[in-house]
Each structure stands twice: as C-alpha cells, then as structure tokens.
C-alpha cells in the first residue's frame, strides 16, 4: 500500500522541473506569449529530448508506455511553470485515443510519429461536454461537417482527433480539403485553442462506439487540467508567501499581519487536498475503471473552484503589484482560469457527476 507518487514519478517531476527552470523561465514565457505563438519550440524540443512526446505511446511503438498518473506529474510541472507547450491534447489525449480505439493499422501509422514528435495532433472534444454558439460536428459518409470549438493544441497541429455529436471519434488531416482553421485567442496566451470549420471534410473513424472512448478522453483531459491548476496554484501560493515575507508596511513585513497570513493559510488548506484528489483520479483512470469518470469530475470541478480562489487571493496578497503585468502573476491566474472552463466548468461537471450516480433527474 502506498498512496502517492512512486520514486520514479518523483524523479520524473524533478527532471521536468529542472528542464523547465533552465528552458522556461518567466521571461521566456512572456516572450512566447507576447509573440502570439502559445508554443515554445525550444521547450517542446527539450521535453521531446526527455521522451515526453511519447509518454503515453506504448513501448512497441517507440514511446515510454506510461500511464495517466505519470502524465499528471508532467502536467503539474507544466502548470507550475506556465509552460507554453502543447501537452494535454498532443502528448496525452491523442495517443490515448489511438490506444483505446485505434485499429492496429491506425496505431502503427500514428503512434510512432507521435512519439518522435513528427505528428502533432490537436483534439476537439468540447461538444461532447457542452455545445455553445453553434458548435457541433456531424458525420456522414466518411465526412465531417460543422464546427468544433476550443480544439486543444490546435495552432501548429498537422492532424486532429475530433468527436462528432454522437461522441464518435474521427481522425482528420490538418491540410484536408474543406477544413478551415481559425485561431481563438483566450486570456491564456500559453495555450493554443482554435476553431475548426468543416465542410464535408474527409475523416477516418477512430474505433466504433457509442461515445465511451470520447467520455474516457474527456475524463483524462479533466484530470490533467486539474493537475495543471494544482501546479499553478502551488506556485501562486509560494509567490504570495515569499512576497508577504519581503514587502513591508506599517513598519513590518505584511506576512506578519494576520489577515495576510490567513489568506495564505486558507489557500494552502484548500489546495493541499486537491493534490491527493487529482492523484487518485489519475490512478482511478489507470487502474480503477469503475471510478474513473466520477473521480475525474470531482477532480475537475473541485480544483476548478479552489483554483479560482487561489488565483484571486494570491493576487490580492501582492496588492497593486499583483495587478500589474510586471510580476507576471497573471500568467498563472489566467492559466487557472483556462483550466476551469475547458472540458466543462464546475457546474456542468457536477451535473455530469450527479447523472453518473443517478441523481439530478427531474423524475418523481
């Protein structure tokens, strides 16, 4: 019995942290974000060097063959560094889709290329969770039409995994005829999301099911977004505590004022249990299938709430400084804001969690 990260997972975290300290300091994040790219080629290259593009690709296809809990360790580190790299969709959800639903031929074609970084996927699942603003894709005769919104890691993608309205997954080539790719710019300049407009675009079905695979992908994505917020929240708290230990007002450091201490204590008290919750949610995804969907909902919705609290409170501890661009604290604030909405905000996710348990039906 051991609840927590294995020595290997801790080593992985250390390695990713070290790499990010070297290649992804805040100055670099700022440079990339302000350049309007949302993707740092240098950091992507460094992560590939560690083999992380193939983290979820089975070993026989040239990857590391690891599980969601391992990927979570990386996601937490990336959140902590507000790293502008496509990870959740490209390195985890796309290979997972192929692992779960791909034919042997599809796997053999794509997985090795994902592992070596030569196939760059974006993943569109938003409409599986909720359809807004005319979003939604329908399939007919091997083609897709409609629009997919908030497709993750889309900017420089050369292929996509897209869910249609029935939850069936499809592979779409990035240069396919009838595909129009439009950028969406969000508050979070460290992540790339886009809109795909499809007009009879040729698509290859990925597996054949009733949406079960899409739901599993959504769950995996939720766990990683939650972990990203835990990593980002950690840093926001640490920065608030450090700042409170330096800044002086009324002749003493503000960290000796109880109002400030209590803000910090509350952030820590609320975030700390989230860490264990996201760990378990990832573990459940890997090893306890019965609980996987529900725990992903819990991790996502609860961390979304706590993340918002940490993001605003840590900013407040910094006073006017927190509101400036100068400190760059807003990169974490926005990252956490992004994590909260993508793949379902807390209310939507809780309604799903209720439905999974047979609650919330308006039946007498």
């Amino acid at each position: 019995m051991d609840f927590g990260l294995s020595p290997e997972q801790r080593m992985l975290r250390d390695a990713v942290d070290r790499l990010l300290r070297e290649h992804c300091p805040l100055d670099h994040v700022r440079e990339v974000a302000e350049g309007g790219h949302a993707v740092s080629a240098a950091v992507v290259a460094a992560l590939s060097e560690l083999g992380l593009s193939g983290i979820m690709v089975p070993e026989e296809h040239g990857g590391l063959g690891l599980g969601l809990l391992d990927a979570l360790v990386v996601a937490e580190a990336l959140g902590a560094a507000v790293a502008p790299v496509p990870f959740v969709a490209r390195c985890v959800l796309a290979p997972l889709a192929l692992r779960l639903a791909g034919t042997p031929a599809q796997q053999a074609r794509w997985l090795p290329r994902i592992a070596d970084g030569s196939a760059r996927f974006g993943v569109g699942l938003t409409e599986v969770v909720n359809r807004r603003d005319g979003g939604g894709v329908t399939a007919a005769d091997g083609t897709l039409s409609g629009s997919a919104l908030f497709v993750l890691d889309s900017a420089d993608a050369d292929a996509f995994v897209i869910a249609d309205q029935g939850g069936q997954l499809h592979l779409v080539a990035g240069e396919a005829d009838g595909l129009e790719r439009l950028p969406l710019s969000t508050i979070d300049l460290t992540r790339s999301v886009g809109e795909l407009r499809l007009d009879g675009v040729a698509a290859e079905p990925l597996g054949e099911d009733d949406g079960g695979t899409a739901n599993r992908l959504v769950a995996a994505g939720r766990v990683l977004l939650a972990a990203d917020s835990v990593g980002a929240g950690d840093v926001m708290i640490a920065r608030a505590v450090d700042y409170a230990g330096e800044r002086e007002q009324f002749g003493r450091v503000i960290g000796s004022f109880q109002a400030v201490k209590h803000m910090c204590a509350e952030m820590a008290a609320r975030l700390e249990p989230c860490r264990s919750l996201v760990w378990y949610a990832a573990h459940a995804f890997d090893a306890v299938p019965d609980e996987a969907l529900l725990m992903a909902c819990h991790a996502k919705s609860h961390t979304g709430e706590v993340g918002r609290f940490v993001a605003r409170t840590a900013t407040e501890v910094h006073g006017g400084m927190g509101f400036t661009d100068l400190l760059g604290l807003h990169y974490w604030f926005k990252r956490i804001g992004f994590d909260r909405q993508l793949l379902g905000g807390p209310e939507i996710v809780r309604a799903e969690a209720a439905a999974l348990q047979g609650w919330g039906k308006r039946a007498a």
């Binding site: 019995m1 008290a269 378990y280 209720a354």
Partner: protein, 406 residues
C-alpha cells in the same frame, strides 16, 4: 500508487468480516457524540479489544492487543467497520487523546495504571485546558498548583470542560511555576474527578443540552507522581495532546459517514414530489461536498502512506482539523436546507427527522470549529508552521499571567 494490501492483509480482512457478521447483533447503536458510552457500548469495546480490533498495537501490559505496529491493519479495521455500518472501537478524549499522550510521554507506572481501564471504557476522561481567561491563548492559564507534602494543591477554574459531569478523571493544565515565563510555568496533571474540592456545574449550550461544564477547584490535592512529563514542561505535553485532538476531530472516516447519511436523506426527502437529490441546485451542492470529502479521504490516505514511510505529514496534516470540521458543518447545513421547513423540527417534534440530529450536528459541528483550537488559530498554525510565515509581533507589555484562583 499502490492501493492493494497484499494477500496476508486480505486474509486478515476476511477474518474481520466474519467476526463482524457473527457479532454485529451485539454492537450498540452509534453512540451520541458527547455522551458517556452506555453498557452495551462498553461491552462491545471490550469484545473488540479482546480480538484486537481496537487498540490493536498498544502493548498487552497496557491493556492493548500487543500486535506489531502496522498501520495497514488499523486501516482495514476502520474500512470494514465503516463498510458494515457497525461502530468500531470507542473514540473519546481519553482513548484518542490521553492514551497516545501517555504512550508517548507517560512514565511506565502511569501507562500500566491508566491506559488499560481507559481502553476498556471503565474510565472516562475530560480535558481541563480552557479557562475563562485562557481560551485561544491557552498558555495564559492561571489555575495554580503548589507542592505541599508530596501533593499538588490545586486552586482555580476551568471552563468548557466537555463531559466533566460524567467523567471519572481529568487531564488538566495547571501553573506550577509562578515566576517562570508564561509557557514554562505549566504542568500537566491527571487526577480523579471524585477528589474532594472539585465542583462541576453543567453549562447549557445552544443545542439545548449541557455538553460541557464549568469546573472549579478548591484545594484539590493530587499526589505528585500524577504529573505527566516534568514540572514546568506541561506545555509540551499539552501540545502533544492537542495534536492528537486535531487528528480525532479531523478524521475523514467520520465525514464519509455523515455524507452517506446525507445522500440517503436526499433520496428520501421529496419536494413537490421530486426527490431532493434530483433538485438541481441541491444536487449541485451535494456533489461539491462529495468531491471535497473525497479529497479529504485521499489526503488521509496520503498521510497514512507518509507515516508508513516515516515521512512527516507536513501541510497535509496541519490542514485536517480546519478543513474537516468546516466540511462536517457544511454537510449538516445542506441536510437542513434539503429538508427546508422540516429541517427546523427539533426537540422531539412531530415529523422530526432522525431525532433532530441534523440540527444538533449543525450546531455541534460549529462548536467543534471553535473547540480544539478555533479556525483562526488553525490558520495561524498553518501559516506559521506549514508555510513558515512570521509570527505576530509580541506586545511589549504582555507578561506571564499571575497564578491564582480565577
């Protein structure tokens, strides 16, 4: 992450399940939180002791089962009793707070004398810490003890002493070194509540019951060997007990039980013919609480693993009392809201649900947010010990309190 227990543990689990199935008819109904255990609960406790299903790793010479320290079997015991909906071993201020303190800091003679009858439910303890002038600032306590002919002679007053009106014994903080600095003048004594000179006056609380008391001491004589730790080192001992108290009050298993009861309630109660659990707004709150309880459960498993590996609990441990007590209060609050007007029924009313226990819990849980170190004091502890933030500057005129009758 490895949440399996291994075959030898699964055999233990099977054995325990068989025991529970065979004996559950002898288990008492869940004991009320602030009441002295009844005869059936005491008999159940003794049966569990005999089989090593409580106090399992406490040495035999102190009345325990004497098994090798093994956190996993303890965990399995907790899991199985919870899953069966049968109360496990007793938990109260004596068993959960004093016993571990004595094991850690008591003399051999004290352990042999006090632990076994406490575990058997024969001695009920109360905690004499707070005083009218010493609540959050516990070290400001003034109840005095002077040494005279091999005895401490105690004078002063305690307040908010839970179960003092039913207790046999008290563990009590007194000021023995009148001239020492505030924290260095305190000693930790244990003595019988039947000692002459003790007067207990029950205090009615907001629940309408008297869960705690005022306790007065007038020339109460206690043998000097009934001190735990050295003279003047009681603050350290007191803090050890407070740590165990935080653990007891923050137990995530209790949260899981309350949540399960809430889910059941929301299945049963109907609003305009619709189950409360199908009301979107109420259901949303329920699922939010469910996620938080899950987080505290896994936080507890993480702490368990840390202790298996001999690693400190850190922040994950310091936050437990604050978070769990708040969450327990929220669970009761939602139950009341789900019942609406019916949630107000109390005091044996017609149509009352669960004996009014949701309202009782809602109020009592607020008491526990205050007791055992208030939420604000917990935040000070988290900030200072967990995050390393600076202490409040001390006021220059703050002096050691004078010992004496309050």
């Amino acid at each position: 992450m490895d949440l399996s227990y291994g075959p030898e543990y699964e055999a233990f689990r099977d054995e325990l399940r068989a025991f529970i199935a065979e004996n559950r008819h002898r288990a008492p109904a869940a004991p009320g939180a602030a009441q002295r255990a009844g005869a059936d609960a005491v008999a159940w406790q003794q049966l569990l002791l005999e089989h090593g299903y409580t106090a399992r790793t406490i040495p035999r010479e102190y009345g325990g089962f004497g098994a090798e320290p093994d956190i996993l079997t303890s965990r399995i015991i907790a899991e199985e009793f919870a899953a069966a909906g049968v109360p496990g071993g007793l938990s109260n201020q004596g068993i959960s707070m004093l016993v571990p303190t004595l094991l850690e800091l008591g003399t051999e003679e004290q352990k042999r004398r006090w632990i076994a009858p406490t575990l058997r439910g024969e001695i009920v303890w109360c905690q004499g810490y707070s005083e009218p002038g010493a609540g959050s600032d516990l070290a400001a306590l003034r109840t005095s003890a002077r040494e005279e002919n091999g005895e401490f002679v105690i004078n002063g007053q305690k307040i908010w002493t839970s179960t003092a009106h039913q207790a046999d014994m008290i563990f009590c903080l007194v000021r023995t070194e009148a001239d020492a600095p505030k924290h260095a003048g305190i000693s930790y004594l244990i003595f019988s509540m039947k000692t002459p000179g003790i007067e207990v006056r029950p205090l009615r609380t907001m629940t309408g019951h008297a869960e705690f008391n005022e306790t007065f001491f007038t020339d109460v004589r206690v043998p000097v060997d009934q001190i735990v730790g050295q003279r003047g080192q009681g603050w350290m001992v007191a803090n050890a007990t407070l740590g165990y108290e935080r653990g007891m009050l923050g137990d995530p298993a209790a949260l899981e039980n309350r949540l399960a009861a809430l889910v059941q309630l929301m299945h049963d109660e109907r609003i305009d013919g619709v189950r409360a659990i199908d009301n979107a707004a109420l259901c949303d709150r329920l699922v939010a609480l469910q996620a938080e309880v899950a987080a505290m459960k896994f936080n507890g498993l993480r702490l368990l693993s840390n202790s298996l590996k001999g690693e400190p609990g850190g922040l994950a441990k310091l936050i437990v009392k604050l978070q769990s007590c708040e969450l327990a209060h929220q669970i009761s609050a939602l139950a009341i809201d789900a019942m609406g007007e019916l949630g107000l029924l109390y005091g044996g009313s017609r149509r009352e649900r669960a004996g009014g226990s949701w309202q009782w819990n809602y109020m009592f849980q607020l008491g526990l947010i205050i007791g055992g170190g208030t939420a604000q004091i917990q935040k000070n502890i988290i900030a200072e010990r967990g995050l390393g933030m600076p202490r409040e500057p001390k006021l220059e005129h703050a002096r050691a309190p004078k010992a004496g009758a309050a």
